[in-house]
Symmetry: C2
Subunit: 286 residues, 2 copies
C-alpha cells in the first residue's frame, strides 16, 4: 500500500520542538519576531502573509508587517532593510518575492543582514548551502522536502535521487542538502532527454515542474518515493501537484499529497529559522 | 578509434585569445599581474610556483611572489591580503592551498577582494558559480574540464553527465557549469552504490577520485567520453589518472590523458582569469 507522506505530521513535530525553544527564549526575555516586508498589495502576498500571521500567533512568535509602496526605489528599500537589520526586536526578515521589476534584487539581497536572512536570500547564506553547511538558514521549500524525508525515516545514504528542477530556490539547494546526506543526486530540467528512464531508475524522485498532473504512472515504479513540490491549477481549477496523484497513489511506495505535502511544511520551516535567528542573537548579545 | 583529448591544444587556443587581450591592455598602459602568496616552502607549492612563473613569462603576464612565514597568524595574513587588495599593480591574487592548519581559512577567503580572487576562494564568487553565472572567476580545475569539452565541440545540451566528486573545488562547481550548458548532471561520491551502472549509462563521465587507474573498461561503453581529473601515483610511482588509460584508450569514444589532459589547462585558465581581472579593473578605473 502506498504511504501518503503528509506534511501536517512533519510540521507538527517541528512545531513541538519549536515550542520548547520559544519558551526557553521567553524565559530569557527574548521574543522571536519576524519582520515581514511586503511591497504593494498583491493578493497572493496578502494570502501568504495572513497564513504567516496565523501560524505565528499559534506558535507564540511575534509578527510585524511592513507594507511599502510597490514603487519604492532600490535605495530606499535597502535603507529600510538596514533599519530592520539594526532593530534588535526583529529576529528575522522575510521580504516577499518576486520583487517589482524596477528593484535591483542583487543589491537588495546583500542588504539584508545574513544573521536575519531567514528566507536565505543573501549570497553568503546560499554559499553555505552550496558547501553543504546545514547549520545556517536554508530556502524553505527544499528544506521542507528534506524535513519530510528525514521525519519519515527515509534512507538517503547511497540512494539515487532525481530532482526535476534546477532553480536556486528549489533544485540546486535541495541537491546540496541531499549530497550532504550521502545521496547520489541527479539534477534534471526541461532539456533532459530520457526523463522517464531516469525517474524509473531512481529510489526517490522530487518534482518541482509546476505543471499540474504531468507525471503519471509510467515515470515511476512500485518502489518509487515521490516528493511533489509542484503547485499549480489543473484544468478544473483545483490545486494540483506535478504528479497525477490519483493514478500513482495506489502504485508507488510513498508520495506527498498536494495540497497537504511539502507546501504545508514550508511556513513552519521558515518560522523555525526565525526562532533559530533569535537564539543566535541571544548568544551574540552575551 | 578513441579520440585523445589533449589539454595542450585547448591551452594553446586559450593562450592565443589571451595574447590579444594582453596586448590590448598593454596599449592602455596596464600590465596583467598575478600576486602569488606562498606560506612556507612546501616542495609542491614551489614546483607549482615555478610553472606559473614560466607560463607568465611566456604570455607577458607579470608575476610577483610573496613568500610568508608558514607560522604567520590569520590576522597578519588577512592584513597582507588587504595590502594586495589595495595595490593597483596587482590584478589577481593566488594564495596557495592547502593552508597551514592554524590558519582560519574562512576568514582568509573573505579577506581577498572578490575582484582579485582569480582562484575563486571568496564565497561571493562561489555563489555566482552556484547560480550559473559564468561571467566571474571560477575554480581552475572544473573550468579547465569545461574548456576541454567546449573546445572539442562536445555536445552538452541534454547529455547525461556523471561526475565522480562532490568537492567545492571540482565536483560541485563543475555540476553547476554543466547545468548551465543544459546537461543533465549526476553527482556521485564514495557512498554511491551502483557507480558502474551510472557511468555506463552516461554520455560523459568526469572522474576526480584521486585513485590511480581505478576505473577500467567495465565502467564505460564505446560511446563514453571520459574526462579524467584525477592525478596520483600508480604502483610504479608514475603519474596516473583515475582511469586505467591503457585498458580503455582503444575502447571509449574520447578520453583526456594524464598527464597532458585537464591538468595542462588549469594554469592557463587561472592566468586567463588574471587577464580578465585586469580588464575589469581597467574598466572600473574609468
Amino acid at each position: 500500500m502506498t504511504e501518503i507522506l503528509k506534511g501536517s505530521l512533519v510540521a507538527k513535530k517541528i512545531k513541538e520542538s519549536m515550542a520548547e525553544r520559544i519558551k526557553e527564549l521567553e524565559s530569557k526575555g527574548k521574543t522571536s519576531t519576524i519582520g515581514v516586508v511586503r511591497l504593494g498589495s498583491d493578493p497572493s502576498d496578502i494570502s501568504y502573509e495572513k497564513s504567516i500571521i496565523k501560524s505565528c500567533e499559534k506558535l507564540g512568535i511575534k509578527s510585524i508587517v511592513y507594507e511599502k509602496d510597490e514603487n519604492i526605489s532600490t535605495d530606499d528599500l535597502m535603507q529600510f532593510m538596514d533599519v530592520l537589520n539594526k532593530n534588535d526586536y526583529i529576529s528575522g526578515i522575510l521580504l516577499f518575492r518576486p520583487l517589482p521589476k524596477h528593484i535591483d534584487e542583487e543589491r537588495i539581497r546583500t542588504s539584508i543582514s545574513p544573521d536575519k536572512d531567514v528566507d536565505c536570500m543573501h549570497p553568503l547564506n546560499l554559499e553555505l548551502i552550496f558547501e553543504g553547511d546545514m547549520e545556517g538558514f536554508a530556502p524553505a521549500t527544499p528544506k521542507a522536502a528534506m524535513e519530510i524525508l528525514i521525519h519519515n525515516n527515509i534512507e538517503l545514504e547511497g540512494k539515487n535521487v532525481v530532482i526535476i528542477n534546477r532553480s536556486m530556490v528549489v533544485g540546486k539547494p535541495l541537491a546540496m542538502m541531499l549530497l550532504q546526506k550521502n545521496a547520489t543526486v541527479t539534477i534534471c530540467h526541461s532539456r533532459t532527454k530520457n526523463l522517464e528512464e531516469l525517474t524509473r531508475n531512481a529510489d526517490i524522485v522530487v518534482t518541482a515542474l509546476g505543471k499540474a498532473k504531468y507525471f503519471d504512472k509510467k515515470y515511476f515504479t512500485e518502489k518509487s518515493i515521490v516528493i511533489d513540490v509542484g503547485v499549480s491549477l489543473d484544468r478544473e481549477g483545483n490545486l494540483s501537484g506535478d504528479v497525477d496523484f490519483d493514478s500513482v497513489s495506489d502504485f508507488v511506495e510513498a508520495i506527498t499529497p498536494v495540497p497537504g505535502g511539502v507546501g504545508s511544511v514550508t511556513t513552519t520551516v521558515l518560522l523555525n529559522q526565525v526562532v533559530k535567528a533569535c537564539f543566535r542573537q541571544l548568544t551574540e548579545d552575551r
